[in-house]
């Protein structure tokens, strides 16, 4: 299979993470919204975690793809 799974996974987590981070940032200080989760802005923090995970997947995925294309015999 020529599709490196880390690429779609990376995109998905980066996009979801960005959405959450943005939401968390714009709602920071909203005690009503975050009262249920012990006053922690979970959207912001977990969004950042997901962005980091997503981006590292993307880097690894695209690097593997590039290495494969450099190999003799073309991409596999």
């Amino acid at each position: 299979m020529k599709l490196d799974l880390r690429i779609p996974v990376g995109w998905m987590f980066t996009l979801c993470g960005l959405l959450l981070t943005f939401l968390g940032y714009s709602t920071s200080g909203n005690t009503e919204l975050y009262g249920r989760c012990l006053g922690i802005n979970v959207n912001l923090w977990w969004g950042l975690v997901l962005v980091v995970f997503g981006l590292s997947m993307l880097v690894l995925g695209y690097r593997a793809q590039k290495m494969l294309e450099k190999e003799p015999g073309g991409p596999r």
Binding site: P8, V9, L20, Y34, R36, L38, W46
Partner: protein, 604 residues
Amino acid sequence: MLNLTLVDWLILLIYCFVAVGIGFALKPHMKTSSDFLLAGRALPAWICGLAFVAVNVGAPEVIGMGASGAKYGLEAAHIYGIGAIPAMIFLGLFMMPYYYGSKARSIPEFVGLRFDEKTRALNACLFAAMTVFSAGISLYAVARLIEGLHIFDALFYARGWPLGWIFGFSVVLAAALVMAYILLGGLAGAMYNQVVQFLLLVASLLPLVLLGLKGAGGWNGLRTSVAAVDPSLMHEWKGVMHAGTNPMGIDIIGIGMGLGFVLGAGYWCADFRVMQSAMAAKDMGSARRAPLIAAIPRMFFPFLLILPGLLAITLPTPHTTTVVREQNGIIYHETNVASKEAEAGKGLVPAKMDAVSGQVMLDAGGRPQLDYDMATPKLLLHYFPTGLLGLGITALLASFMGGMAGNVTAFNTVFTCDLYQAHIHKGASDGHYLAVGRWATVGCILLSVAAAFAAVQFNSILDTLQLAFALVNAPLLATVLLGMFWKRATGHGAFAGLIAGTIAALLHHGLTLPIAAHPGIHGGWIAIVHAYPSDMTQNLFTAICAFSANFIVTVVVSLCTKARVETEVLGLARVRAHIVWWKRPETLAVAILLAAVALNIFFY
């Protein structure tokens, strides 16, 4: 009740887009029936390993383990520890060389190569029926979850559609998404999606458990609050020596024989739904490493799957409360209305409601029947704010679809290779079988939609699935093990054993009943000879009966019939590859075993 905002919907949409997108990206590679049914046997070990564990982290696991956590406590972790880990190691070390090396495309085909065509056909039929049933249960679970979380309620109100249609609407919607990515990407599409679903699940259950533990005051806080509900729930092993002193009501023989051997090995070593992922590996080394890689996340899963259930029963039960406060001379009455099912429940676990009468359902003892399956979803609603809630719901829905997809891809392979090609239409072109594989996918999904509507009768999803499993896979395990490790086993023996095992399972189920259940679908439909303390115990012993009956009958009949010539019996040669010691599957296996023992000591 549930207020999803734009961000929640966007996250759900991103996931659907990725799921179908993977299908489209793989579509150009689907040229032969092998590409479609076996993923071309070209996948790396890590994808196979993650898909191997993810295929079973569908509805039965996420909801069922949460439910078991709330119902039985940490003892539910046995399924992980004693059942799964040794079985996966055994599979990787000893069984995979035969499965993968025989070049069989499915387990029934392996049975056919080792024994004969009639055993293969019997196994293929039983297995196909089980996959359709399980796919139906997964669909039912998705729809129940959507209904229980009131995801589409606002949409249905706005359109003026009756709310009773949500169940059917959700079943069809989930079935359509799974069908799309399987038809486009085949087994590879399903496996890629299972990895995505697995990662999503970790990404949403991890913050849930962390928040829950923080809310409960850490591990010790949880311990104290669980002790207030039922102290036996916090121990994996205490009280196992006697059936009366542990929450599941199983003694050590039941746990050891049932979970450790028959259920664990039956699932992880002889179930084609999980095996198909490992068999799609690109070479023997990857195929053997896949179950070992899968064992690593598997060890840490009790933490993510069972704890939400435990956390849910320790939180206070919602009650209708009225708070009176005065602001600027005006008196406000704030009423927080809890629904009838929530008030009758235990912790966050609601009671079951009769859809017809609108009353709380009672068990034979007159207590409200608890809807344990809602434990994890309720905890999600309790802790997650909008945003993260979207991610959590997406992960739950996605993992259900993954479990269903595993059943569908197993069905289409078994149907195409073991029933259609072997018995209905031999020697057709590969393109023909590719088309049959696609049509089998459609057929399986349509049947499972029907099964989803029939599944409304059952109480706990995991218990139901284990019943189907005890009927089909527990006897098969004896057949496969004898086939691999006893060359004297014959085709007639295996055939007779398989029939005897299935009948023994049916008889056992028909003659016994869990306490506090009504006779019928839960057992006791012939007569009640013995009562078990729980569904789970009953299923364990059903599995043990099936396995033992098959084992004994196969051995006896084999000894009475003519053996095959030794050279005909396949896969007996074991080739040892020359790899550096730390890369060998054996090294990985020992490390995993040590870690599993350590975890069990910690949770004693």
